[in-house]
Symmetry: none
Subunit: 141 residues, 4 copies
Amino acid sequence: MATSVNRAEAQLTLDLALAVVEAARQRADEIGVPMSITVLDKGDILVAFARMDGAWFGSIDIAQNKAYTARTFDMATKDLALLAQPGAPLYGIEASNLGRLIVVAGGIPLKLGDRIVGAIGVSGGSAEEDHDVAQAGVAAL
Amino acid sequence: MATSVNRAEAQLTLDLALAVVEAARQRADEIGVPMSITVLDKGDILVAFARMDGAWFGSIDIAQNKAYTARTFDMATKDLALLAQPGAPLYGIEASNLGRLIVVAGGIPLKLGDRIVGAIGVSGGSAEEDHDVAQAGVAAL
Amino acid sequence: MATSVNRAEAQLTLDLALAVVEAARQRADEIGVPMSITVLDKGDILVAFARMDGAWFGSIDIAQNKAYTARTFDMATKDLALLAQPGAPLYGIEASNLGRLIVVAGGIPLKLGDRIVGAIGVSGGSAEEDHDVAQAGVAAL
Amino acid sequence: MATSVNRAEAQLTLDLALAVVEAARQRADEIGVPMSITVLDKGDILVAFARMDGAWFGSIDIAQNKAYTARTFDMATKDLALLAQPGAPLYGIEASNLGRLIVVAGGIPLKLGDRIVGAIGVSGGSAEEDHDVAQAGVAAL
């Protein structure tokens, strides 16, 4: 895999985004759960997407929302989920941002070195499986 | 800072709104938390906005929602939050007004003398930090 | 490239969709125009997407609209564009389907044998360049 | 005006965005037309906004759409307007991107050196006046 990123600029190139998608896909294959996988750049703009054969149609939108949420709050949606419970400080947060937020595990910010350059969002399995597959994508950078 | 308000009319001019934003920003700088700061006028219409470097993207919409909520109910969102808890009289209120309400601290009405002229909304830190920074903005009038 | 399609069913697998995207991307690289490339399946559902480095943000939505339009009418958007001109039989058609149609060249149905299995949509260059790159994607099947 | 941008990174800081807004506002004052002025960063995300006293309420949304359009196509909306006329290659383009596009003069990309770092959008006067005021904002960088 060519990785044409200029690390001085820490930008998420398409090559890198596709490497993230492929790593996530391999992990999803290993656990046998078809998923939708989205990669957004640091401005929350779509770079790459893949829906594995057999993944729920509903997973497309959820994967994008998870990536959007992770970058919008610079936090894994798994962690945000805890803060958004009844009684927790961000309860109700998902009602903001025009319906694009989702406080379910499976979204994680992407970093190059210590800089956030985007986010991955995964949907199709359980919350734990989605986070696991997203983590495999993160590890590709 | 020029304050070109006509006090006879008690209107929130852009100059005043920018003074509110700047005072809030200075307080946010003091506590070291980057925030989004919104000022709406008495008709709930946007006058001024600033997103500090490093503030979560998600704080933009939430700051606007907090200011909108504060002016819509003429009440600090910190106080409205108490009324919107399960069992309290306004439980569920945030489902009204087309998704523009949020019952989290950080929104406060703005007054000139005893007249409400608009509202400030702040997001980016904890609920307490957001209220503190909004209060600094209020104090600029 | 593994092509795991079951030709008896003529389904567009993710592997095939990624092969279509990659072929289009190579053509776009050849002509030196960064583009967004979308592949939808026969149900008009997103399968794969890639935005090349430097492509306009606006190309993301337009590429998806072109693919949607091509599959929705089972016709290249280049041809549909002629039918949608003032005085032609489909003038105004783009106002239907909730804003998802676009009558600009760059969308083409994808076939396996004689069966339509989806569509490709390309945006980022001129209408002619977009159609050329989409055609390169079609040729990968 | 402190300009805390790190030019090596070419990022649009809040200080720079406010300088752009202020320069545009001064020009609008000179020509005597109250306007709404929006600055977005390179990811099309809101950084700063000001509505001058007396500006149409409708100018708020239009200013944001103009900035969004300018960054989405990396082109002044004045130029895009020509390409979107009946018979021109991008005719109908404004129907894409979920209603956030507007092909009216007043939106211009913002650059630091040769890199696009965001966009300004201005609304409140005639198309020519809006472009003139936006240009004054661009000149502040």
